[in-house]
Assembly symmetry: C2
């Protein structure tokens, strides 16, 4: 009775997972250790590698072995890549010898490569087995050490991949057929060193649950499964979004990133953007005399440049995301120019109309702009068309250009677009003012 | 010989898929129809529902039946939801009766609900079967109509879900055990009307390959599989990114969105942003007299407000993405305030130092700012600290506030943050100027 009540005051595994990020290390360990064993397993295996590593470091050393051994080799490798070198060696020692060998092999791969994602535990059969025999052989592998069964991989005696058949196909085939007659030849494979984003594209495109990973000689090394890819897709999207917001991608969730790391990731880009934006001060300085003559010009500067910035960021968001999803490629650039030029002009005209209405409305309501208000309205309208068109074109072309010269379009576009669009916006605005107001206000 | 050569001049399935988005409808049909049957199947099943629907509408009507029947019921339902009503009825007629019933049932669900994602073809067993018997029964289902086997779902005679066991567990168990002794009770389930984003979170959290979908009475309706979730994760990320870039989310890939639809999606937000930014003109107008006295003040306006905007968009990106991933929740708001206040002050000081160095540097190099340059440098530095701090705080709090009042933080943050930060940036800048330059320049 007493014990039941105690457990009721504790958090359940689901509750604990919910608030995990917000808890202190002590609270996590305390909550984790009182969970019933099965719930604790569920919770532990569902944590991200970073959180698993932190937890392993925080629980009593005597308990680490059972949790390390619960991890599949690819997950163990991920955890070990997240912890301090000292803890890493200690945790490594807790694995049994065959596992340790597998984990060490996996750790040799870069985390973002196919090799770093793959699991070495896949179901293997021989081409000259009969289907019945293959099923029994798989049954034995399932009891031993398979994590899951999606496909059976057909290997020759040299571990070279000959073909693949889905478990369903094998299972549905008549028992005396040969595996080689059921299997698909020339399976889609990925190479160990392939980048995880490319692996994700491939696995999604073909709609497979898993892809075999092979080395340069066609030897099968492991499988990358769809559930690894879900994490990759999400991770890449987060990186894109963060770079897009004008910062370096964080390596850990927001709440778990230290203040110092966070400032580092943010201050760098912010300073670069700031230095870029300094050109606006240089540009503005060229027009100081014009502003002195017609101070009203200064009033519309923020409105004009923000319109350019907004249309530029719209266009670059669209193109960067479309590139990330493989919807547009470099060679489409001319079609994009045509499309975005037309879009920019249309959007510019829309804003010009709204802007002119604003100036005329304020004039009739408050007489804000004196007798020359038609000139001011025309200047604002004309520059909006120009600024929005230039913003849209720059915003759409810069990501392509950056990709062309080998830079990451997601991370480098924002500062370039912002600076370029703001500076050119000022030039367009003051040029339009000179054109329209020259001889009267200027 | 002649025929082989012909085929060589055609695009392969992979090449065709690569350039698919860039081709005209005629080119697609032409390329598709000359593919060998197996390649055409691969290509067809790998296309998005929208593209499948377009292709079905474009190929000769006599060929539609074989392609419609190739689709699994949930995929067929997705395609039918994308096509014109007329074509929809025609395609529906091509299905055989049991399939048509399944498809119609699926189409009753909203596209973004668990019910709209699920497949009705799952593997079912009875609790009182022996494992051997269950495996034979599954083998029969595999031959008939299963798409894939991940889990066997244990149903009572009333189709109520009692438990689940992974295929590996069933396969690895000794043959004379009862299914009820192998299965897990109380399986994790989702309800038909659950939103796809919530389903994605759940399936990822538990690391399952599929989740069973049940109705209010516990009757099993279908399964949502991980491969549906990959698309969901990507779709949601794209929507977030696009909303973030200041536009409505597109419903189709960039190249396939019509010019009119594109302008609609973009012009709306751009105009809202523009109207918001008009407040900057109102704010600037209040300071016309100050600018007339010290025109140099106008020079730094774009630099100051862009710094506020950049720090605001950094902070809101971080928080919006962290909310989407479930890393931060509303009740964390006070911790976020503390964190972002500290971050904003730190980042503001960094930019203030850079800004002051810029003013002093230009003064010593070009004598740009006259005898009062220390006042100008101080004004710029002080306002940068203020503007960046306010920008960071607004950027991080507004998404939380919008979520609190039930709005979508991703789509509404950008305009609010931009306007708020730009207007308050101007107020801060000119107030700092008055404070520091009052009596000398002003």
């Amino acid at each position: 009775m007493e014990e039941r009540k105690d457990q009721h005051e504790q958090l359940s595994a689901d509750e604990l997972r919910e608030v995990w990020a917000a808890l202190s290390e002590d609270e996590r360990v305390e909550g984790f250790l009182v969970l019933p064993r099965e719930d604790a397993e569920d919770l532990f295996t569902s944590l991200a590698p970073l959180a698993q590593g932190q937890l392993l470091g925080a629980i009593p050393p005597g308990q680490r072995r059972i949790w390390m051994r619960l991890l599949a080799p690819d997950d163990a490798a991920d955890v070990l890549q997240e912890v301090e070198p000292e803890l890493k060696d200690e945790l490594m020692k807790l694995l049994d010898e065959p596992n340790r060998r597998e984990v060490r092999a996996l750790m040799a791969y870069a985390e973002d490569d196919a090799g770093g994602l793959m699991s070495p535990r896949f179901a293997r059969v021989r081409p000259d087995m009969q289907v019945d025999e293959a099923i029994r052989y798989l049954q034995k592998q399932a009891r031993d050490r398979l994590e899951a069964i999606y496909y059976a991989y057909v290997l020759d005696s040299d571990q070279r991949l000959l073909g693949v058949c889905s478990f369903r196909e094998l299972f549905a085939a008549t028992g005396d057929k040969l595996v080689r007659d059921v299997m698909h030849d020339e399976p889609v494979t990925v190479r160990e060193e392939m980048d995880q984003e490319a692996v994700a594209l491939l696995i999604k495109r073909h709609g497979f649950l898993a892809l075999p990973v092979v080395d340069a000689h066609g030897h099968m090394k492991g499988i990358v499964t769809l559930d690894d890819i879900v994490d990759v897709v999400e991770e890449e999207a987060t990186e894109d979004v963060q770079k897009f917001g004008g910062m370096e991608a964080l390596e850990a969730p927001y709440m778990q990133t230290s203040f110092g790391a966070m400032i580092q990731k943010r201050a760098g880009w912010l300073a670069i953007l700031f230095v870029g934006e300094m050109f606006t001060a240089t540009a503005m300085a060229q027009y100081e005399h014009d502003i002195a003559k017609a101070v009203v010009l200064a009033v519309f500067v923020p409105l004009i440049i923000s319109s350019g910035g907004n249309s530029g960021s719209q266009a670059s968001t669209l193109i960067i995301r479309a590139m990330a999803l493989g919807e547009v490629r470099l060679r489409d650039w001319w079609r994009i120019v045509q499309r975005e030029l037309a879009a920019g002009l249309t959007l510019g005209v829309v804003l010009a109309v709204v802007g002119a209405v604003r100036v005329l409305g304020w004039q009739f309501a408050f007489h804000s702009y004196g007798p020359h208000y038609p000139l001011i309205a025309s200047t604002v309208a004309l520059s909006l068309v120009g600024v929005v068109t230039v913003g849209t074109l720059c915003g759409s072309m810069l990501p392509l250009l950056l990709k062309r010269v080998g830079l990451d379009p997601a991370s480098a576009s924002a500062p370039f677009v912002a600076t370029l669009v703001d500076v050119s916006g000022l030039l367009i605005y003051f040029s339009a003012a000179k054109l329209i107001m020259g001889g009267t206000l200027l």
